[in-house]
Every structure is written in structure tokens, then in C-alpha cells.
Amino acid sequence: MLAFIVRRILLLIPTLFFITIVTFLVIELPPGDYLDAYAANLAAGGDPVDQERLEALRKQFGLDKPVPLRYLQWLTNILRGNFGFSFEWNVPVEALIWERLALTFFISLSTILFTWVVGFLIGVYSAVNQYSIGDYVFTTLGFIGLGLPNFLIALVIMWYAFDQFGLRLSGLFSQEYRGAPWSLAKFLDMITHLWLPLLILGTAGTAEMIRTMRANLLDELNKPYVETARAKGLKEQVLVRKYPVRVALNPFVSTVGWTLPNLISGATIVSVVLSLPTTGPMLLGALMTQDMYLAASFLLMLSVLTVVGTLISDLLLAVLDPRIRMEAQ
């Protein structure tokens, strides 16, 4: 087990290295450097452009050096916790990203839990009551859920709520808690707003989970050992819960690995539509205004956290299922 964990963590190092390179490329890609964009923004806003200050900034961020050196400098800065400066917001990047990243991850993890619980329950129900009306309803809903893009569901629900009930379903906090410091009341307020993003982000995932669970369990239910247990007089409920469900659960758990990147990805666009105070809207804004340090920091941290999250889920899976540990060796 220890060897497995060490191996997985060692594999993480090249991945993280790749991520930093991709992120750095993103910073470098736009034509000109970001100070050009900054200067253009200032000029467009009618502010005088201070050439001396620009030069000073250029020096400070090492923009006059060749690319590999710039990469190294950027990397060492990040390792020291210095993510650069947001020209759009005029504050260091660190001051902007952490709360939003935390919220993004809170929402993503809640969504995973939601899809698991709902997908598991409905999947088991659908398999045990195959071809019942409920099964048909859920299977159809699941198929539609897979085909519908998240942001479209968000748009339609928002429109419907506003049109029918005059409700404005956006944001994650009530008016009075926006910008307020964290407190228990603010947290509880967030919980009451959480259901909508959960529901929207969870649709596709839940649909996939239902499909997986239903198919796995149906495979198991037709096996002879189930028949044997039934013949021996085990109660149907106990029987299903005790044997086939446990076997069917394994492939179900292993889907977590790709759930996380998909969720983070989907959350970006849904949070723009619902104007949630998560990474999505700010990342989009930063990219639009070419506030590259901010954008790159988001991209970097989202990727790193996704990769680490996937690693943790893989390790948990290995704890659950000895076969995975063995296979990896």
C-alpha cells in the first residue's frame, strides 16, 4: 500500500511540472506582454500612461528577460506564494483567488456528494425495478440530462423562476451577506442558495451515475449467486443490499477520477450564468481584459487542485479495492 501511495505521489511531480508549463504558455500567448495590454487599458480609460512606471513594472516582473528565465522566475515566485499582480483590480493576485477557489471546491465537492447519493439511490431503484414506470421515467430523464448542456438548464430555470414567480435566482448569498466577513449566518445563508447550482451542475453527473449503477447492478442481479441466495430464503432487500450492490459499487466509485475535472470545467460556465462568486466569472473577466497573472493563477490552481483531488480519490479507491492496488504493481 505504501509503495502504491509513493508511486502515485511521485507520478504527480511530472504532472505538476506540465501544468506550470501550460499555464506559463497561457500567460505568454497573447501578442505583446501584459504590460502592453495594461497600458492600452489605461490609455483607453483616458489615464495618462506613465512610461517610467511601465518600465519599472517591466523590470519588476522580469519582462525584459528571455522566456526560460521568465518561466523560472515566475515559478519560484509562485512557490514562494507570490502569484503576481492583477492590473485590473490593482491588488496582488493572492488577495483575490483564495476565497473564490475555496467556494469553487466547496460547490464541486457538494455536487459530487449530491450526484453520488442521488445517482446511487435512483440507480439501485431502476435496476431492481427494471422496466417499471419509475425506471422508464428516470432513464428518460437521465438521457435528457446527459444531452442538455448545463448552462442551458441554468438559463431555462432562471428564466422560468423569474417569469413565473418573479424570483431572481442568482448569486450564492443574500444581499446582506455579500462582501460580509465569514460567519455562521453567512454560511447557513449560502447553504440555502446552494441547491440550484448543485441541481444544475449535478444533472449530467447524476445521469451518468444512474446509467453506470443501473447497468452494473443489472449485470450482477442476473448472476447465479443471487438466485442461490434467494432460493435459500434471504429477504430480497437484505439480499440486494448485501451482495450485488456492493459488487456493483466498484466501477461506480472509479468514475470519481474523471468527475472532478468535468465538474470544475462545467462549474466555470454555470457560475458565469448564475453569477456565483466562484472562479468562473473572475477567470472569464481576467481573460477578457488580458489580466494574465490573475487568469494564469486561476488556471494553475484549478488544474493543480483538480489533479490533487483526483489523486486523493484514486488513493481512496485503492484503499477500498485491493484489486486496484495489485494491478498497479
Partner: protein, 387 residues
């Protein structure tokens, strides 16, 4: 031995008698080519069959939208801003009409909110004509013409079957125009991903060893990244002053940069399982070159699976392009795609005022579901010998 010879006539004779009515059916299956078997299997999947008709119509519309659309998608008229959809009318007090007509719209102001409202004016009828001369266009960039499938003969009145948008542009015409970019970007993107996927996945699966490990690592790495943020970051780097076609190809390339990984995995899996097959070994012993083994012997036996995977990959591409354009980092006006049109629906007030702005979303869902059904059907049909 004796048993066998004794049983044989018994087995064949009654069989022949019993199957007297259906021997042709059985024979048909035995002598059918793989292609025929696949088609028969695909035909059994009714939703897939229906969906392929939908897809064909969609692509035909994408090819000929200039002719199908009643108006130029950029033609605007502030008077008709947010005009509601006009219903086609077949009946009036005189009886049945074909071609149908639409009632005129009368614009006014709400006395309380001063918001613009429209009323159906039943005293004015605009008969719809087929093959009318309307806004001029250049068909496929070759033919200067102004012929439209349907429309109004005079410039008086409008025919907005799906309503009008903020600037009074016909939503139906814009929807048809947007179909071209939206459905073609899916195809082009998938073809590009396919080339990359087959090349890299093929190398990985065929040669195995270090190349395989390295490529698998890269694929895992790409799949572990959250794709939309990465796409956003890459497309943000597309210069604002690029012409439409260049943006189009840049977006396609960006989408394929991640899209190829899924296909590469499928190809690799197929290569790995086929590499050890007898017929591949036989070809190798017979002295066939690597290229010949891959192209002549292996490719035909996994092609159908690949086509099914390709079909299932198209909707993901369409959705990605729609998401990017919807966020404002994909295709940009004046280029039209479903995502660009949905940007109009980003404003809640606008959607409440004009719910028909959500119709591009409906088309996205239809296209995605249709591709999924066809892909499912193809996947089932890909292996016609499986029971």
C-alpha cells in the same frame, strides 16, 4: 460415429421442412456482407434511424441556409425589436389557404410601463409566397441571387416565424445561418481530433513499450486538466482582429487539442487487442510491411468502432463551441453560431421579454441528442456478429 451418421439425416430433413417458408431469410443472413449486417442491425434501432434523418436535415439546412432563410440574418429593423413569433395561418373566414399567411403585427407602447408591445392585427394579412425575391446573397460565394424558399412579396409587413431579437433581426434566419458554423465545427473538429488520435493512439497501441507509457501519461495529464478553463485561456489569445475563417479554424484546433485524447484511447485499445490476433500475425509472417499491416489488415476491422466513437464525439465538440461562444471567447459576431445567438439570451430581462431567444438552445439539444442516438445505434451495429 454411428450415432452421428444416424442423427444427421434426422437433423437436416425436418429442419428443411420446418424452415420451408423462411430459408431465404436464413440464407440472407448467411450470405450477407458485413455492411449489410450492420445496416440491418442499425435499422432495428428506431431512435437512431429517426435521429439520422434529423441530422441529414440539419446538415442540408446548414448547406443551403441562404436559400431557406426568409431574410438576411444581419438585416435589422428597430421597429421590429423583440417582435414575437408570428403564427402561420391556414384558415380565415374565407376558408383554407395554401400557401398560408401571417397576420400583421401592430407595434405600440404599454401605457403603464412604456415598454414596447406588439399586437396581432387581424385586419392585415400577409400571404406567404414560395420562391420569392428578397434580400440578395451570394450562394456558396459563387452565385449572385436573391431567391428565397419562402417570404413576403412586398416589403410591407414581416414574417418572423420565430420572432425577432434586440435589433429586430429575424431569429429563424439567424438560427439557420448559425447552423452552418455550429454543425460543421463539430465535424471538422472531430476529423482533426481523429487524425491526431489515430496517429498518436496508433503509435501507442502498436509499438507499446516506452512510447506507449509516455503517450498514456500525456493523455492522462490532458484529461486531468479542467477543459473549459483551458479552452477559455487558449481562445482568449486569439487576436480580436482576425477574420471569421481564421477564428473558426483556431477554435477548431483549440477544441481538438483536448478532444483527440478520447479517440486516441479508443484506437489504442483496439490496436492492443488486434495486435495479437492470428490474422495480424499471419500478415506479419507473410512479410507485410508495418504500414500495410496497419492500413490493410487492422484498420478495416476497427473502422466501424471508430466511426461510432467519432459520431459520439461530435456532440461534445458542438457543445464546447457553443459554450465558448456563449461566454464570448469563441466565435464572435458578425459570425453566427448557436453559442453566439445564445449570448443574446444571457440577459435575464431579455429572455423574459423574448423567450424565443432561447430557441438556439433547443436546436443544440436536438443536435446533441440526435448525434448521441445515432452514435449508440452505430456502436451496436459496429459488431454485427455479436449477439
Amino acid at each position: 460415429m454411428t450415432q452421428e451418421t444416424a442423427e444427421r439425416p434426422e437433423l437436416t430433413h425436418p429442419d428443411d421442412a420446418a424452415f420451408d417458408e423462411v430459408p431465404s431469410e436464413r440464407e440472407r443472413v448467411f450470405v450477407a456482407t458485413p455492411g449489410q449486417l450492420m445496416w440491418w442491425r442499425f435499422r432495428r434501432h428506431k431512435m437512431a434511424l429517426l435521429s439520422s434523418v434529423v441530422l441529414i436535415l440539419l446538415y442540408l439546412a446548414a448547406l443551403t441556409w441562404e436559400f431557406l432563410a426568409p431574410y438576411d440574418p444581419l438585416r435589422h429593423d428597430v421597429q421590429s425589436a423583440y417582435a414575437p413569433p408570428q403564427r402561420l395561418q391556414f384558415f380565415d373566414e374565407e376558408g383554407f389557404h395554401f400557401p398560408p399567411f401571417v397576420y400583421g403585427l401592430k407595434g405600440g407602447r404599454d401605457p403603464e410601463t412604456f415598454r414596447k408591445i406588439f399586437e396581432v392585427d387581424e385586419s392585415v394579412k400577409h400571404p406567404i409566397k414560395f420562391m420569392v425575391h428578397g434580400d440578395p446573397y451570394k450562394f456558396w460565394g459563387l452565385m449572385e441571387t436573391d431567391l428565397h424558399l419562402f417570404g413576403l412579396e412586398s416589403n410591407e409587413g414581416t414574417v418572423f416565424l420565430l420572432g425577432a431579437d434586440r435589433l429586430g433581426r429575424d431569429v429563424l434566419s439567424r438560427l439557420l445561418a448559425a447552423t452552418r458554423i455550429s454543425v460543421s465545427i463539430g465535424l471538422v473538429g472531430v476529423i482533426l481530433s481523429f487524425v491526431l488520435g489515430v496517429l498518436i493512439g496508433g503509435i501507442s497501441g502498436y509499438y507499446g513499450g516506452t512510447a506507449d507509457i509516455l503517450i498514456q501519461r500525456i493523455i492522462e495529464f490532458i484529461r486531468a486538466m479542467p477543459s473549459i478553463p483551458l479552452w477559455l485561456a487558449l481562445s482568449a489569445a486569439i487576436p480580436k482582429d482576425w477574420p471569421v475563417t481564421r477564428v473558426y479554424f483556431a477554435i477548431t484546433i483549440i477544441l481538438s487539442l483536448i478532444g483527440w485524447t478520447g479517440l486516441a484511447r479508443v484506437v489504442r485499445g483496439r490496436f492492443l487487442s488486434l495486435r495479437e490476433e492470428d490474422f495480424v500475425q499471419a500478415a506479419r509472417f507473410a512479410g507485410a510491411s508495418e504500414g500495410r499491416i496497419i492500413l490493410r489488415h487492422m484498420t478495416p476491422s476497427f473502422l466501424s468502432h471508430i466511426i461510432a466513437s467519432l459520431t459520439l464525439a461530435v456532440p461534445a465538440m458542438i457543445l464546447s463551441e457553443t459554450s465558448l461562444s456563449f461566454l464570448g471567447l469563441g466565435m464572435r459576431p458578425p459570425a453566427l453560431s448557436w453559442g453566439v445567438l445564445l449570448r443574446e439570451a444571457q440577459n435575464l430581462q431579455a429572455v423574459v421579454l423574448a423567450p424565443w431567444l432561447l430557441t438556439p438552445g433547443l436546436l443544440v439539444v436536438i443536435a446533441v441528442l440526435a448525434f448521441n442516438f445515432v452514435g449508440d445505434g452505430l456502436r451496436d451495429a459496429a459488431d454485427p456478429y455479436a449477439r
